[in-house]
């Protein structure tokens, strides 16, 4: 299974426990994990279902640069972490 976790900065808005989901593309994994907290999806994705500009997704400590297709394949044992990116203001 793939482990998916949302950072406290997201969970303070909509709580979501860590999820264990079946392997697949990163999009499939994220979409499956977000079924546990559908209200959280709009915090992670924009209207076009791309990862928001100021949200960062890590796969096994590697930040994912692609925000649109999310077609990177994940296998059992991979860990996905969704955090807020650093920004000012």
């Amino acid at each position: 299974m793939v482990h998916v976790e949302f950072a406290p900065s997201l969970r303070r808005h909509v709580d979501c426990a860590p999820q264990q989901v079946a392997p697949g593309t990163l999009r499939e994994v994220l979409e499956t994990a977000l079924r546990a907290a559908p209200e959280l999806a709009h915090y992670v994705f924009d209207d076009q279902r791309a990862v928001r500009k100021h949200v960062a997704v890590f796969v096994n400590r590697q930040m994912v640069q692609d925000r649109v297709t999310l077609n990177q394949g994940l296998v059992a044992g991979d860990k996905v972490l969704v955090v807020q990116a650093l920004s000012g203001g």
Binding site: S9, L10, D46, D47, Q48, A50, H54, V55
Partner: protein, 364 residues
């Protein structure tokens, strides 16, 4: 007196008081940018639009004057088409900011309008539980020529629902002119005739579709009377926007963003002048409010209670509001000043110099 809602870069403030004696009674969403507020007179609900730096646009609703808030759906664009006339649309189909909120008519319970950047107009029929993009306006071909004025993309900042017929809605777009529907949004007509844009090539100056009305307001008792603070001056219409009449620039300036009009008197309106497009500060560092009582033929300039030396406040387009009594006004700036007037703007009392930048204030 009605509470005053103040939407700022760092949260929503609620002020309570009367006359010029007002105090901050509550602070909601501390640290979060609040771009628009609405107090729905039909059911007393408050709405606050948030623009979270990381997580996008959110919308909150309170049924108990801010004691509790519920997250409701935020307007969102549908998936951008991959073929057809809008497949190559350079405008992002993702809401960046909710710039205006308006209630539908008394005969339309639950109906709300939201104007956004990019310039999508959204409608809810269920008090914000769901939203639908108004495709008739979004997909009218002229939208390709709209452009942002200060922001990267065009946006809808003013939504006026006709108190005589809620199917008649007027919206103002920076920079995209003034548009009206008489059938609840199924069809739209451009109604910016008379406006002139000196920021365009002279041949295009009277193109209604690229005018920059900074703010549009309607006289509640005389809904055919509309006022606009335009990028290039002040305009008034007494025929529902079918024709706009330019007002000679008052002293000290015709440039500005905000306008408020008297809810009863169709000849009275207030403005907050800034020096010029290229110099957005009060003229000579003196902050003033101008008021016309004769439909724009003449103006009075009021400074009592406002800073008169080295004052660099700018009042955004939603930073000036008049209460239902027509006498109580509130004004707030991008540098955190907030003032109240109890006598139609002739004298002002400072309430705070220390607020975050103020995007909008409204009497609830």
């Amino acid at each position: 007196m009605q509470p005053l809602l103040v939407a700022t870069r760092k949260g929503l403030f609620v002020l309570r008081g009367a006359g010029t004696d007002w105090t901050i009674a509550a602070h909601h969403f501390p640290g979060e940018p609040v771009t628009s507020v609405l107090a729905d007179a039909r059911d007393g609900a408050w709405y606050a639009a948030l623009r979270m730096g990381h997580f996008g646009v959110k919308l909150r609703r309170s049924a108990d004057q801010g004691q509790t808030w519920q997250e409701i759906a935020a307007p969102a664009f549908p998936l951008k088409p991959t073929e057809g006339p809008w497949a190559d649309d350079p405008t992002p189909w993702s809401v960046d900011l909710i710039w205006s909120l308006a209630s539908g008519g008394p005969d339309q319970p639950g109906a709300l309008w939201a104007g956004c950047i990019p310039a999508g107009l959204f409608r809810s029929n269920d008090a914000g539980a769901s939203w639908t993009l108004n495709t008739a306006l979004w997909e009218q071909p002229g939208r390709r020529d709209w452009f942002g004025g200060g922001y990267d993309h065009a946006g809808i900042h003013s939504i006026v629902v006709d108190p005589r017929d809620a199917r008649h809605v007027t919206v103002a777009v920076s920079c995209g002119g003034v548009w009206q529907t008489h059938d609840g949004g199924e069809h739209w007509a451009l109604t910016a005739e008379g406006m002139k844009a000196d920021y365009l090539p002279v041949e295009n100056a009277e193109d209604g579709n690229t005018q920059d009305p900074h703010c549009l307001v309607q006289c509640a008792a005389h809904p055919d009377v509309l006022w606009v603070q335009h990028h290039c001056g002040i305009y008034r219409s007494d025929n529902g926007g079918q024709r706009w009449t330019g007002i000679d620039a008052p002293v000290p300036s015709g440039f500005g963003f905000a306008v408020a009009c008297d809810p009863q008197n169709p000849k009275r309106a207030w403005f907050v002048p800034a020096q010029a497009d290229a110099c957005r500060i009060p003229v000579d560092g003196r902050m003033v409010v101008t008021r016309t009582d004769d439909g724009g033929a003449s103006f009075r300039v009021f400074s009592s209670g406002l800073p008169q030396t080295h004052a660099y406040h700018l009042v955004y387009r939603h930073g000036l509001a008049v209460a239902d009594d027509g006498q109580t006004l509130a004004m707030a700036s991008t540098t955190g000043g907030l003032w109240l007037s109890a006598d139609g703007g002739e004298h002002w009392q400072g309430v705070s110099n220390d607020l975050p930048p103020v995007a909008m204030l409204r009497f609830a």
